[in-house]
Amino acid sequence: MRGIGAQEAKGFWADAWDRVRRRPGAMLGMAWIAVMGFFAVFAPLIANAHPIRLERLGAEGQVLSVEWPLLAYLSPTDWLLMIATAFGVPWVFFGAGRLGRSGRIGVLIGLTMQAGATIVLAALLIWAAEGSGIESLERLTRLESGPWPLVLASAIIAAVVAIAVPIAAPLARRIGPILGAAALGFVLSWLAGGQSLVNHEQVILDEAAGKVRATWTLIPWSSQYTRSDMVGIPPGTRVADWEKTASFKGTPFGERRVLLGTDAIGGDVLGQMLWACRLSISIGLVSTGISVVLGVTIGALMGFFGGWVDLLLYRVVEIFMSVPTLFVLIVAAGVLPRNTYVMMAIIGFFSWTGAARFTRAEFLKLRKMDFVQAAQAAGLPVRAVLFRHMLPNGITPVLVDASFAIAAAITIEATLSFLGLGPDGQASWGKLLSSATAATGTFVWWLAVFPGLAIFLSVLSYNMLGEAMRDAIDPKLRKAAH
């Protein structure tokens, strides 16, 4: 039964992918997205104010104790992302077996989501036990470890849900990986710290005084770490050459170069830019995911049922279309808590109309097609007709448009952050950009150029990818291109 749509879709997508691959613009775009994704995952290892290894030295230079502040600092989600990327991506590309590459991507995403769900669930349970409410939402990214029974309970719940997900593979083949993901989620949320055990400023002073020996990450600033004596350092400057920090001359700290300069409160621009990859990538993907799910569901309902359902829901679509979305987004972001998840939700909530209209149009067409009528005539339930027969065929334009939607979401995030309505305490390209023209009236070019370039390249990458996909898939445009 699945065959009608799925079979056709697969050959169709493989064909489309071949066309996309022939476009250099699309490939460059994907390369940039991959680079961003890499930094999004590994930013905590690359740019961090916590030393990897810290040796406390005695008076004669003997090692008193050894600490690993970075490992203590990494949160369960950091660990999960890094583990999934480090092992999963090579497996997807070079692994062999019956699954095929798209199957492996599905497994990787599924298992990562299951382990992630364990972590999130554990966090929620721990807060429920503590009695702290929605204010803790931002802590999802910086989870502290909790009591193991709660963590175990979350792991079990997530695993049961994963088993219950209705996909074709038999349970016997799925149970092993699911238990593995549950174990990973459990270990990470039980053990991983997310704690900041050292005072960076003190470590730097101690290092200068020879009291400690520290092994730093590539960029020893994290997104949150600022120094009031290092405000507005131009790119490429050595710390010791900066007037206010000249006292560090000769120390490891003083010899470092501030590659892309510092911002108006003394944070490292490059470090923040790497961390901001996380925000951009995740907001782009999650908010588009929300809008696609929302839009496809509503569009499918409109297209399939027609009549008054269509009439009523289309009024809602029209309301969203005729209103300046950015304006309402600004209002929403302004009055709601400044929080990553809230931002993802509102961007998703205000941008589903495109997906809904595409799906509606496709479903209106599909509803009259023979295979759908045959499925209905065969007495299949509405759910099966909708999701098994119509969805795989009707979702193509939505998926093509998703690339543009991600680009738009990244733009909106940058805009809102620029206006000071972005998530609190998160590094963001838009936020850096807004500090380029400070209230003092001076223009700090490196705060405009580097983050600006990053925003531009990301948006361009997704747009070029979308353009290539649209050309590859839209038969009407393909004909016109000849």
Binding site: M321, V331, V335, T415, T437, F443, A448, A480
Partner: protein, 506 residues
């Protein structure tokens, strides 16, 4: 056509209602509510009791303790031309006046008995002096009322402080946000001389004192109000239930000015910017799209497509910062002004540029504005180029292969005429439809542009309103922007009807 227009106008009502309700819910349900902005302001206010007083006044004024839908209905009752609720009256000066409201009851009367009721005697002057007198008394009544409402709030805060000082189990009766409902503490003994109790007693004394003063003011204002019956503003359908009248957007508390005044100065600026930007977009994008379609696959087609895709990928904020930084800032080129709509000396300028006797050239008011608007308009237009020229190109290509173009060629129409009067003429229709997609986005974009270039338009106004959580201002802004957007879309529809004879609006 007329019925169609009427139907479209009627359909706009639910749209506007939907969007304002959405924003209303957002503002009302957001943590902190209206008070959040005041807390920000309170950071600069030395006297925290003043913040509480202001907050309490606002809660009273907007009825923030009511159900959110009741609040929305109240707002709607004021804004919609068909008003529900008591009919406002209009003074000869044109101001809307209402009978002074009754005061809320003092709280904790079981412990601190309310002052006895009293009746104030007041003789109102006659003639025009009455109006002046009433306005003065009304201001006074508002002020004393506000002080009194604030003192009630102060009383509740003092009670909450006392309860906190007592600790468990009393604290369990506090509200989640930490406030104290006096009715739940009837059995609380108030004997003793703990410092919090002393404060509570003085709060009660202050409450009573301000009640007496407010009540006296209220009675005087009421006498003055009743001395001459003011005519009802608007047209009463059912007295004190339904009436027709002009929209009343209320007063922006952050600036203490009527919201309509603020919008009346800001909206024309935003509309001006958009109405400069739109012709530019169409003038650049349509010819580009036409040329690209005529030379399909040629160098111009490829290069313009690529260039517009690049431009399309540049966020407005980025262009804005770069334009301000490199083109306007004196550190670099400094060719353009950094902010504003006019030079500070614009009021004294002549309209057109001229050269005076000394040979000095003056740019005049008009050029000054063009000079100030150049960068903002630049930021607003370029993103539209890609969208529109791509659409033009696609529409042209579709029409090029259509049968009626073949017919025109077979008639012997020269290819230039075929392109312009047949292909382009038909491609105009989707371009008008495109307006529907672009215009709301442009309005949103102009919010950002105005913010970047500190132009006193709707964008600057709304961001200020958001930062201060000025609900009236946010709602009125949303209402106006949505209305402008909807009217523009209606305009596009009419234009479409004029251009496409196939459309019959009946």
């Amino acid at each position: 056509m007329a019925t169609y227009l009427l139907r479209r106008l009627l359909l706009m009502i639910p749209t506007v209602l939907g969007i304002t309700l959405m924003v209303f819910l957002l503002v009302a349900l957001a943590p902190g509510g209206i008070g959040a902005g005041l807390a920000v302001q309170g950071g600069q206010m030395s006297d925290t009791s003043k913040v509480a007083q202001m907050q309490a006044y606002l809660e009273d004024r907007y009825g923030l303790n009511d159900n959110v839908f009741v609040q929305y209905a109240r707002w709607l009752g004021r804004v919609s031309p068909l008003k529900f609720g008591t009919t406002p009256l209009v003074a000869p000066t044109g101001d809307l006046v209402r009978e002074p409201r009754d005061l809320p009851e003092p709280v904790m009367t079981w412990a601190f008995p309310a002052p006895a009721a009293f009746v104030v005697q007041y003789t109102v002057p006659s003639g025009d002096a009455l109006i002046e007198d009433f306005k003065r008394l009304q201001r006074e009544a508002e002020g004393t009322r506000r002080t009194y409402v604030g003192s009630v709030r102060g009383m509740k805060d003092a009670l909450a402080d006392h309860v906190r000082a007592l600790g468990a189990p009393w604290t369990a009766r506090l509200e989640p946000k930490g406030g104290a409902d006096p009715e739940r503490f009837r059995d609380l003994s108030l004997d003793g001389d703990a410092p919090t109790l002393v404060k509570l007693r003085s709060a009660a004394a202050a409450m009573h004192a301000s009640w007496t003063e407010a009540e006296a003011s209220r009675q005087r204002a009421t006498i003055a109000f009743l001395a001459r019956p003011y005519p009802a503003a608007g047209f009463e359908i059912i007295p004190n239930a339904f009436s027709l009248g002009a929209p009343d957007f209320g007063v922006a508390f952050s600036r203490n000015r009527p919201v309509w005044d603020l919008i009346a100065t800001a909206l024309p600026v935003t509309i001006l910017i958009n109405f400069i930007a739109f012709p530019i977009i169409y003038l650049v994008a349509v010819p580009t799209g036409v040329l690209a379609s005529v030379r399909r696959g040629g160098a111009f087609d490829v290069i313009s497509g690529l260039m517009f895709l690049l431009l399309y990928s540049v966020p407005v904020v980025l262009t804005g910062v770069f334009a301000i930084g490199f083109l306007a800032n004196n550190q670099y080129l400094g060719w353009f002004p950094v902010s504003g709509l006019h030079d500070s000396a614009a009021a004294t300028m002549t309209f057109m540029p001229y050269t005076d006797v000394a040979g000095t050239w003056h740019r005049g008011w008009l050029l000054d504005m063009v000079w100030h608007l150049a960068l903002p308009v630049l930021c607003l237009v370029y993103a539209g180029f890609a969208v529109l020229s791509k659409q033009t190109r696609a529409a042209m290509l579709e029409n090029f292969s259509s049968d009626y173009v073949r017919t025109a060629r077979a008639k012997g129409v020269p290819s230039r005429d075929v392109i312009i009067s047949h292909v382009l003429r038909n491609s105009l229709l989707p371009l008008i439809t495109m307006f529907v997609g672009i215009f709301p986005a442009m309005l949103g974009g102009s919010v950002v542009v105005e913010r970047i270039f500190t132009i006193p338009g709707m964008g600057s106004l709304v961001i200020e309103a958001i930062n201060l959580r000025d609900r009236e201002l946010i709602l009125a802004n949303t209402f106006m922007i949505s209305s402008v957007s909807l009217l523009a879309l209606l305009l596009a529809d009419i234009l479409y009807a004029l251009c496409d004879p196939r459309v019959a609006y009946d």
